[in-house]
Symmetry: C2
Subunit: 341 residues, 2 copies
DNA sequence: ATATAATTTTTACGCGCGATAAATTCTTAC
DNA sequence: GTAAGAATTTATCGCGCGTAAAAATTATAT
C-alpha cells in the first residue's frame, strides 16, 4: 500500500493505466468491464487506496445509492429492532441506508423528510408517527421518493404498506385468554399516536362479541412515548378503582404491559396464571424485553423478520423500475405463552 | 407557493432578483447579507420552495455540516438514549447528524467508519465497541475526522474522551450495599466487550478491600450483546451453584441485572430489601427500563445528559478551530435507590 | 487471415455550487 | 452634497465525476 495521496479519479486512472471513463464504469459496476482491465484496476486499488468522491457521484447520477429509514421513536426497542433488521437488508442489497428517528414529534418528522428529500435517496422505508404525522408532508415526500410504509399505515400514502395484522393479533390473544381463564379487559392509552392501537381496540371489541363476552375497556391518559410510565400510572388508577370486572388484562402493547406489571408489583398483586395469582396480564408485540419481565410476559409476537424483509423487497422492486399498484401486506403474529397469562 | 420547479441557484437568484453569489452567501449565513436583500430572498423562498443541492455544496466546501454519531449497539436503550440526546444537540448547533450502529461487530464498525470518512463530516462522536474495536482503524479515522470518543475509552484515540467515572459508580453502590445489608458479590460477563466492565470489576475489588470485606466475583459465559439472556442463564447457574456467600448481588450493568432478576423470579426467589426477601440485586447505568422491573432496580444513574453535552461541546470546540490537548472528562453517577436492593 | 462484435480511449461537455477579484451600487456619516 | 465604507454584481474558475459520441484498439468467430 503506497501512501501517495490520490486526489481524483483522473489521477487514479493514470496510475492504473486505464482511462478515466472506463474506471468510472468499473466503479459503477465492476462486471461491466473486461476481466483483464478489471484486474488491473483492482491491482491499482490495492496499491493506492482510492475511493471516488461520493458527493461528485451523487451530484451527477440521477439516482443515488442512499436509502432512508425513518422510525417514529428509535429509543423504543421495537423500532430499534425494525431499524436494525431493515438496515442490514439494505446493506446486503448494496445500498447505503441511513437511520432517522422522529423522536415522536411531527416537526422532527417533517424536517427529516425535508432533509432526506434533498439527498435524493433511491428510496425510503418509513414508519410514520401515525396520527401525529403531517399526512400532506409525507404524501409530498412520497411523490419525489419511492417510499414503502411499514408498521403504521397512512392510507394510500407511499407505494405500499407492510405491517402486522393487528386484528388477528388481538383475536388470537383474546381467544387464548378466554379459553384459559376469565375473559380479558382491555388496557390502552386514551389518545394513542399509533393507528394500530385503534385497530387493536376495535378488534378486542369484535373478538369479545364473537365469543359472547362482555368487553371492558380502560383508556388512560398520557400522550407521549413514555409508555411504561403511562402503563404504570394508568395501572395504579385502574387497579385501585375496583372497576375491573375480571382478573385478566390485555394491554394494547408490551410497553404498556411492562408498566402495568410494575403497577401490579407495587400494589402487591401477584401476576400469573397459577392458582395463587391475583391477576393475569398480557401484551402485544413481543417487545425484546418482554421475555425478561417478572413474570415473563405473555404476548403476540410481531413477525419483525417478515415485515422487514417484505418492506425492503417491495421497495427494491420499485427502485428497480417495476411498476405495481398500491398494495397492503399484513403478517400474522404468533402467540408467545409465558407466565404472565 | 408557486409550483414552478427551480433547477438551481442561478434560476432562484434570477427569480428573487438577487445575484447568485449573494444568494450563495445568504445560504451560508443569512446574517451576512443586508436586511433588505435578506427580505427579498426570503420572500422568494416562500414563493418558490428552493433548496440548494446538498451534494454540490458539500463537494465545494472544504467542511461539510455533517456530523457522524456511531454507537456500538443501537438496540440497547442506553445507546439509543445517548444517540437521541447527542443527535438533538447537533441539530441545535445547526449541523446534520447521522446515527450509525456497529451492531456489535468490528467489521460493521470499520465499514461505517470508512463510509463516514468518505462523507468528509465536520466531526464525529464515537462510542466504540471497545475491546472488539479495530483500534488502528479507529485511529486512522480520527486522523482525518475530528472525533470525540464517549462511553467507552480507547486510550489516546480521538481528541478527547467523555464518559462516566466507573470506579466512582461502583464505589458508591458497594458502599451503599454494605451499609444497608450484606456486602455484595459481583456478577459480570467473563469476556465483556466494553472496557468499562473491567473497571467496574476492579473497582468492586478495591471498594470491598477498603471496607474490609471479602470480595466474590462471578464471571459467566456469553460474549454477544444479548446481555439479558446472559444475565438470566448466568443467574441460574450462580444461584443454583450454592456458591454465593452473600444475599446481595451487584451486577456489572443493568441489562445483566434485568436478566438476573428474571432468573431469581424463575427460581422463586423474592428480590428486595425487606425482611421477607431472599436476595438483593443491584445494577449500574440506570437503564431506561430499570425503573419498571419487578422489583424496580436499584442502580447507579449515568449522567447521560452531562456526558452528551460535554462530548458535543468538546467536538464543536474542535470543529471551530480551537486547539487543545487530549483530555479525559468523567462524570459521576448518582445512586438511585429502588426496591431491589 | 479477415470480418465483425465488443471494449476501450479520446475528447468534450455538464452538473450545481463555492470562491475570488474587479467593477459597480448602495449606505452612512459628516 | 460628498466621500468613505459596505454590500452587491459581474465575470470567471474550479470541484470530481457522469455521460455521450467518435475514433482506436482488442477479442471472437468464421
Amino acid at each position: 500500500m503506497s501512501d501517495v495521496k490520490i486526489r481524483n479519479m483522473e489521477e487514479f486512472a493514470a496510475l492504473s493505466g486505464i482511462s478515466r471513463p472506463t474506471v468510472s464504469k468499473y466503479f459503477h459496476d465492476p462486471e461491466s468491464v473486461r476481466p483483464s482491465t478489471r484486474a488491473r484496476i483492482e491491482a491499482a486499488l490495492e496499491q493506492y487506496d482510492y475511493r471516488p468522491n461520493i458527493f461528485a457521484i451523487n451530484q451527477n447520477r440521477k439516482q443515488t445509492k442512499t436509502v432512508g429509514i425513518l422510525v417514529p421513536y428509535l429509543a423504543d426497542p421495537v423500532f430499534a429492532e425494525f431499524a436494525r433488521n431493515i438496515e442490514q437488508r439494505c446493506v446486503d442489497m448494496g445500498y447505503r441506508p441511513t437511520i432517522f428517528s422522529a423522536h415522536g414529534e411531527q416537526e422532527t418528522e417533517n424536517e427529516i423528510l425535508e432533509n432526506l428529500r434533498a439527498q435524493k435517496p433511491a428510496g425510503a422505508l418509513l414508519a410514520p408517527l401515525g396520527r401525529a404525522s403531517d399526512v400532506a408532508a409525507v404524501k409530498a415526500f412520497c411523490k419525489d421518493v419511492p417510499t414503502v410504509l411499514f408498521d403504521s399505515i397512512l392510507p394510500d400514502v407511499g407505494m405500499a404498506f407492510i405491517g402486522s395484522d393487528n386484528p388477528q393479533f388481538t383475536r388470537l390473544i383474546v381467544d387464548y385468554l378466554c379459553r384459559t381463564g376469565e375473559p380479558p379487559c382491555f388496557f390502552e392509552m386514551k389518545t394513542p399516536t399509533n393507528p394500530n392501537a385503534r385497530k387493536r381496540r376495535q378488534s378486542y371489541l369484535d373478538a369479545m362479541q364473537a365469543l359472547g363476552q362482555e368487553p371492558q375497556v380502560f383508556s388512560v391518559d398520557g400522550a407521549d412515548w413514555h409508555f411504561e410510565e403511562i402503563g404504570r400510572q394508568g395501572g395504579h388508577q385502574v387497579l385501585r378503582s375496583g372497576e375491573m370486572k375480571t382478573n385478566t388484562v390485555l394491554c394494547s402493547n408490551d410497553r404498556l404491559a411492562i408498566g402495568f406489571l410494575t403497577a401490579c408489583y407495587e400494589l402487591g398483586l401477584k401476576v400469573g396464571r397459577t392458582e395463587d395469582c391475583a391477576i393475569r396480564v398480557a401484551g402485544q408485540d413481543d417487545h425484546p424485553f418482554s421475555r425478561y419481565t417478572c413474570p415473563p410476559l405473555t404476548t403476540i409476537a410481531q413477525d419483525y423478520d417478515s415485515v422487514s424483509r417484505e418492506a425492503v423487497a417491495t421497495l427494491f422492486r420499485a427502485i428497480e423500475g417495476e411498476d405495481f399498484p398500491y398494495s397492503i401486506k399484513l403478517f400474522e403474529g404468533k402467540l408467545v405463552m409465558r407466565e404472565s397469562a
